[in-house]
Symmetry: C2
Subunit: 267 residues, 2 copies
């Protein structure tokens, strides 16, 4: 008896016979995804933004988030390297410059490191990525790989979670400033600058995706790409919550904050 291995991922897809969504329906579907799955809903963010995390727990967040922050331009460069159209590449280039800076050295990564500095993290240790939760690395790498291997439409679509980002940045800035002593302008420079920066990108990316999703199957692929990206963001917070809040089992080799009262899994 021949028992073939299941085809990845599941059975071959048959073309959808459903009708294409109108522009408005498509935008509504994108918005809805954010309302249901964006990481602003995550319990870890709720604790962070309402001042309920200890200094050490915020350190763990900032340290792990660095890898995401730091990988975003790698992701964008991966994507740009796959674009045939120079005009889109040029349009996309500003994202890389926003994060990496120009010869003035004022990129987002540097501003993000100001947060790490205020949190008394050793900057070389942060940059070494040695104390990362492996789950942070796996999630972020999944994002870079997604952009390098999926269709251009899906790769661009995966950035569309930035539609939802301004609200969470605003919530973060006000929540952190209100509740934590260390959260001054220097520490929050990355998030403050980001609110204005992302707007242009959001607009361009959204319009490009809407115009290039020709069929209903394309539209579904877009929605699935955005869903994938929400999972990338969500999984990072799951891992932080697990390791540094509850149950507090820090995986072997990951950052152990000074005097942290997490439980030790091995006992």
């Amino acid at each position: 008896m021949i028992m073939p291995a299941p085809f990845y991922p599941g059975s071959p897809k048959t073309p959808s016979d459903k009708v294409k969504l109108t522009r408005e329906e498509f935008i509504t579907a994108l918005t809805q995804l954010g309302k249901e799955r964006y990481h602003s809903l995550h319990p870890f963010h709720k604790l962070l933004h309402s001042g309920k995390l200890s200094f050490e727990q915020v350190q763990a967040w900032a340290l792990n988030r660095f890898y995401y922050q730091w990988s975003i331009p790698r992701k964008d460069l991966t994507l740009m390297a796959r674009m045939n159209d120079v005009d889109i590449r040029v349009e996309w280039r500003s994202r890389v410059i926003d994060h990496e800076g120009d010869i003035d050295g004022q990129g987002g990564i540097k501003r993000y490191l100001q947060l790490c500095e205020r949190l008394n993290l050793d900057i070389d240790y942060v940059k070494s990525c040695e104390g990362l939760l492996p789950a942070s690395r796996f999630a972020v790498d999944a994002y870079v790989n997604f952009v390098g291997s999926r269709s251009l439409l899906e790769a661009v679509a995966s950035s569309l979670t930035e539609i939802y980002a301004p609200a969470i940045h605003a919530e973060r800035i006000s929540g952190l400033s209100k509740h934590y002593e260390w959260a001054d302008d220097y520490a929050l420079a990355y998030f403050k600058k980001r609110i204005g920066q992302a707007r242009k990108d959001v607009e361009f990316g959204r319009e490009w995706v809407i115009n290039n999703a020709i069929t209903r199957d394309d539209q579904n692929a877009v929605l699935n790409a955005v869903k994938f990206k929400t999972e990338v963001l969500w999984a990072q917070l799951d891992a932080l919550y697990y390791a540094y809040v509850d149950p507090g089992f820090i995986p072997p080799g990951a950052f152990i904050p000074k005097g942290f009262n997490g439980k030790k899994w091995a006992e």
Copy 2:
């Protein structure tokens, strides 16, 4: 002022000036890694093997582990496609056959699905991978990508966690049979068969790696590859523990066992 982005991953490595480990020291270092980081130590496995998980929690484990199980031959094929030496490819081929079966249809994946069947999981749902924790997918995909992108030495080395596997298989078989009514020969067929199968592979892989790690840097690369693999295994259990044991926050879209009393993160 020029502020270059940090080089990935951290600074460029300088060759180690340390002396190469002897065969015995190298084997000891490999063994030690297992004692410190193999997932047999993970609290989720301790609960599983001592009968402390509910039927629904075991369902979640089996469902998520399926993706790992199912990806192993993809991983081995990725690796084989990068091997120049036909003799090693032929040697490695039996791993794929062990999991996928031959025309008799009796591969490990099919035996693994017997476990899912005994656990009353819908087999089409399991195969669809739709209810996976995203963290399971990210971790397993990281493994496949590692094998596709690192040096052949590192790629082969990452399979060496199988050195530690027979003990956990034995512990699992006896623990599950003792504590769970559903855990009969049919359900445990995969693990029972696996104990005998892996032995030959372990021997070959270990010897190949020892002989091909020429310098101390090679040996360090091997140890790091094994460490990476322990993280892949460990992270999967972290995610299961978080979602289905404590705090019990199931991420959006992931499998929700019938009548499961997990907390809802969104409330």
